[in-house]
Symmetry: D2
Subunit: 334 residues, 4 copies
């Protein structure tokens, strides 16, 4: 499968490398509004640096599209991929506006072109093994899900200005992971969000850096999410599944299994892998795998467009909860 990559920023580059390394995909072309960045990557891998996205959608030697551009272009590029009949793997979120996502959904409906959303965490070997064990009955009935998700460091202010708010930008991964772990969508959301790390900046841009959420399912299953924009000890990514007959924890990953012992500490690991590209290296590769498999088999890719929409609905519910200080029924949003 010859895949073109739209967007050659940090994530786009990583995807391009994964496509090159993958034994069933080849990099077909790249595009970025920053032509220099696209050219550099194109040269590195000996592929075309397209002059426009249209060139890519029209190309016969492009079998599929990977969208890693700025968020506000995602829905457009999904629509154009579908129009061109090319399967598309699009980074999250689909859009920051639920209306735009719904409009996009209408447009691509029935076209039969595979769309996969880049919720990479579903493909983390640890998270997946824990989920599969729980869904396979290893801990009986699932009662509680706890998701801890903390970034190692604050992104620059410019990042926040277009990110759409921490719960649409960062928690959105956890909303999707929650649905994946629960095996269903929560029906109710309660959210709190604080400004603890950089209160001044967070107030100015009307955003938050610290989040806690509780969601409940129709049958009473509970899910807790906590987020922080910093964690000095590395990228903190944990999932805990509590069931009637046991518990599963998918824990953090250290760079090595070296442990240190001295006057101050025993059994100390290094700080965790720094950020998503390192922590979810295997997950990003497996994501490509799943996309290729689904396209080859003609089945719907997962996480699907609808999964992307549902995660955004939970984010919307969370923002309403935050504003109104009450549990919001998801059906109020959807």
């Amino acid at each position: 499968m010859r895949v073109a990559v739209l967007g050659t920023g940090r994530i786009g580059k990583m995807h391009a490398e994964n496509i090159v390394k993958h034994d069933r995909t080849a990099l077909a072309a790249v595009f970025d509004i920053n032509r220099e960045s696209a050219d550099a990557l194109a040269q590195q891998f000996g592929v075309t640096s397209a002059a426009s996205p249209q060139e890519i959608f029209a190309a016969d030697d492009v079998d599929a599209i990977l969208v890693a551009t700025a968020t506000h272009t995602h829905a457009d590029f999904i629509e154009q991929s579908v129009a061109a009949g090319k399967p598309v793997l699009c980074e999250k979120p689909i859009d920051l506006s639920l209306e735009r996502v719904n409009a996009c959904a209408q447009k691509v409906k029935g076209a039969g072109v595979p769309i996969q959303i880049g919720f990479n965490r579903r493909f983390d070997p640890g998270h997946k093994a824990a989920r599969d064990a729980a869904h396979g009955g290893e801990i009986g009935a699932l009662h509680q899900v706890l998701i801890t998700s903390r970034d190692p460091e604050m992104p620059p202010r410019s990042y926040y200005e277009t990110a759409g708010g921490i719960m649409r930008d960062m928690t959105i991964h956890d909303f999707d992971l929650a649905r994946y772990m629960l095996g269903e969508s929560p029906v109710e959301v309660f959210a709190t969000a604080s400004r603890l790390i950089d209160p001044a900046m967070m107030s100015e841009i009307d955003d938050h850096d610290t989040v806690m959420i509780i969601m409940t399912c129709a049958d009473g299953k509970q899910c807790h999410i906590n987020n922080s924009r910093t964690a000095t000890y590395g990228y903190d990514q944990r999932v805990e599944l509590m069931g009637s007959t046991g518990m599963l924890i998918s824990d953090n990953v250290s760079p090595t299994q070296v442990r240190r012992y001295g006057k101050k500490n025993a059994n100390a690991s290094e700080p965790y892998l720094y950020f998503f590209i390192e922590r979810y290296e295997a997950a990003f590769a497996a994501e490509i795998d799943a996309f290729v498999d689904a396209v080859a088999a003609g089945t719907e890719p997962s996480p699907s467009f609808e999964d992307g929409r549902q995660a955004l609905i939970l984010a919307e519910a969370a923002y309403r909860s935050l504003a109104e200080k009450r549990a919001v029924r998801v059906e109020e949003i959807a």
Copy 2:
């Protein structure tokens, strides 16, 4: 200090043993409405089995009272201890009714008789070390507190019938622990509670077996609590403190440090210590220590009567939140 124990059930017995073992306390007398139980314990330790609580309050050779009777008697016995001028260490909760607690508060006010409430978890060496490290600045500013508290097994139905609801009976420990860890009282509470372990019984007695809570402080600090009435892997008691420069976890305690390796598992510990008497053995002993110290020094014991009242206020706020599906301001209750 010669201490009399009111109530010779499981917890009263344990306290009596701790008083005997403690190098600065002696067991003075015991009382229980079940005379047989009291006699057996009295005989074991060669002390008086009092015919009535009054006998104990009046006794010259009783310096202090430990109350481990049924909850509905706590406030009365606190009042009588205070009237008798005897320092009292009373098991939690003070009462299931906030009115009764407030009335009791009025009555004992200004008497200058030390009252300590039995929130034993504050004295757990691990929890205390984590708290002291956090409050000493080891993790910078505190941002998030996560408390996991799950009992190993469901108590019998009879227990629930007088327990006053999971959040007044079980979560009350975590409400106090949250205040201890946060170093202040939360101002807002959101609670959910489900019936997942024994839905039929829980519905009949209008109680819950699975709880998730979020509380926030005035400055935005967040606290999550989760409870379950069962945990097959033992008594699950964890605290996580997330700060601006680091994180501290006070983790579970295994019976031994033996780890097992075989075809199915590596690095497996035994299930955790079964329940509070084993898990908090050191804490219960340290609780007596603190009581003796405070009485000797003439300082206010901690956790104080007011700490007991505040924990109940959080439980009341949690129940209102559950009923009204909204974040409840603590000041609405208090």
Copy 3:
């Protein structure tokens, strides 16, 4: 059982406290050649400070003897206890000279007075659980035993001068633990010993601070021991049992289960419990238990006098191996 303690140094004091705390023993009297030390302890617990050991051996209200005096007095006191018909629990080693131990063995033979040697580590809950699991078949046939035993800090030079060499003083515990774990005595010993921590002093006093040993059983089972006189991270006491179907590790014990996360470390525990009195607190108490049980039941205490002799035989074999740089058959010594 009324127990008199001979020797009121650090270990004697600890034993005296355990005897006081134990629910089936009482402290009867104490003796030490340092009269002041004995008097202080006697006063603390309200017991007699005997003017001589003879006074204790003759006393009607002394049911048993605990010997915690200097090593060169152990064999004498064992003999005198036996002559007085009083069961004796004697600290390790029985003596530094195998001849003396053999002579003592002859003398006490057939007297039917219970003698237990203070190899406390057999009673450590973790070590014992691992051993019982292995001997119960949990890891199939036992193939390899690894014992790590490192003291936290160098004792003062004066200590070394009468200690008899690291392998008679420190490794002797591991020789006994090896026999306990293996379930039999090794038939061959190879030992190396180095001067790495304080080479100058070690050379002057002709001792060593760092040891590695391999022992083999008749059927080929192997046992490794390593020792160091210092370990900055605390008292390092580990046992690994490798079998045909699994492995068991009895690992170190931390003061609490607190784990720390920051810029430099993740998952860091505090250094391990500092030394034997803290690390083996439960073991020392269980040792008294076992002694009382054996005396009450009229069975031979374990570890027995012969266990004490066998451990010394392994130490002698180790020293011969060190001198001759070869594997020494234990039968060459015994």
Copy 4:
């Protein structure tokens, strides 16, 4: 760098894949005496399946050779690579006979053609990080090294028949790792070896399945190695470095960080990664890296031919020790 692979068995295939994936190497050709195996691999990667090793040594488009054939061919192929002026990365051991290795050393001496020996474990990120930390002074002076190395499962009998004995075949990795960790060669070796897993077969083929070794350096540093041909809990590969101011452990690697909790276990990981291809995946890739770097820089590759020879010398010393039941000076062999 265009690399040809001699030997397309399990290890040769893995190396071929790594060469393909590596961004500075390309697979040039493959050869195996089993032509079918070579053809299959050649076809998979679109490269030449050479009719003979000579074809490869003579090829202009082959820049370097990777030798992964049967052990008895290693020395020949090293000599032929050197004769052809092609840098060679040869799997361990160089040969089972020290005479042959010495003869080979004579032959290749002074040719200036880079030779690297495939001691992959030096490149394990954890082992390397621990070694670098120790050599960088993090634990003060190094005193003791402990290497645990246990294979998950017995190879078939046919394997043993040409393997040359467990200490030349399996321990040889640990001999090299010991030298790498110690930073120098031990001067004395004591070895024991037993037949515990399959005594009948081991006796018939005069081999052993369970090994324990102690080595000492000139300054008294000590090193323990233990081996077992089976470990039900996975490939057990640990290194412990004990120093004057701390300790470092490079621990085993689990497939994921999932931990399981239930009625029987808490904190249980999955069994360790099954075998060397999984466990040392990163190490095998880094080995290629180091080879390419050394060849490019014109520096001597490490581990060098001499490292390969020294490891065999330690194995020879170990076998002499086993036969003569004494510590063998390495200089007796070399």
